[in-house]
């Protein structure tokens, strides 16, 4: 794995959490994922694509860490994961990805960012995109149901 593609995410995470949330973090050694990982209490996901890049960013917090982080970030005490915490994770995901994008662009890589998705306690939230709601489309099979959600917007 090219460190040029990894270090911007470590730097951006450290910078955003230390600057916006006054949180001291210790960075562990990166390892290659070989199995499915369990999501923690709140997870932010964002898609990235550019002329010469493609991928995703996922950041998953346990309950204690995210409640402490958001409490410091919003200068208020949060004891449970609520809509404010979910919104804050969306914004943290945005800022971390934005920071990594800025760093990657200094290495000559162009990265476009999608809007973040936040997953918490079996619930998922897609952010509204400009002038466009999130649409849920229900489907049925003979055995059960599934849904598709999209918030794709045309940017003029």
């Amino acid at each position: 794995v090219k460190t040029d593609l990894v270090n911007p995410f470590i730097m951006a995470t450290t910078n955003v959490l230390e600057t916006m949330t006054n949180t001291k973090i210790i960075v562990g050694a990166p390892y290659e994922k070989v199995e499915y990982s369990d999501l923690r209490a709140v997870t932010g996901i964002i898609g990235m694509a550019g002329a010469d890049t493609t991928g995703n960013l996922l950041i998953s917090f346990d309950k204690e860490s995210i409640l402490a982080i958001v409490s410091r970030m919003l200068m208020d005490e949060f004891l449970e994961i609520n809509q404010d915490v979910i919104d804050a994770v969306g914004e943290l995901t945005n800022m971390i990805c934005g920071g990594a994008k800025n760093e990657l662009s200094s290495h000559g890589l162009t990265v476009g960012m999608a809007t973040p998705i936040v997953i918490a306690g079996g619930k998922v939230e897609l952010q509204k995109t400009p002038d466009h709601p999130v649409l849920t489309i229900p489907f049925e099979t003979e055995e059960g149901e599934f849904i598709l959600e999209t918030n794709l917007a045309q940017i003029i």
């Binding site: 910078n15 404010d84 969306g90 914004e91 934005g98 920071g99």
Partner: protein, 142 residues
Amino acid sequence: VESAGVICMSGFREVSRGISILVVDDASTMRRIVKGCFKQFGFENITEAEDGKIALAKLQSPENHFDLIVSDWNMPNMMGIDLLIAVRADEKLKKIPFLMITAEARSDNVVAAAKAGVSNYIVKPFTVDQLEAKLELIYSKK
């Protein structure tokens, strides 16, 4: 120096804590963070707008009066840069200090904002102290 009816003295610390501030951001979290910072500085008269279009309507309403605009760049409906251009083109609003907050650190963005008449520019993430330093620069120039 007179700015939209408010007497500004030698710097941000001298600015009346009664001034009216408009915080513009589509992300409720960022609006809350910026409001929290201003409350820490002693300001209470803070109004929020979710995008540039809503902000411009509030600014142009004869019922409102604002002394400082703090706006995000990337927003739906009307971007921060377009809000800035509209404010600077409006005789009644053009002197209001305008601080842009953005995730975009690209130099062409900074140049575009400077050309449009931004009072200062801060890149996310930022600390309370960095925000205060930018406001100090705005008000010490006035």
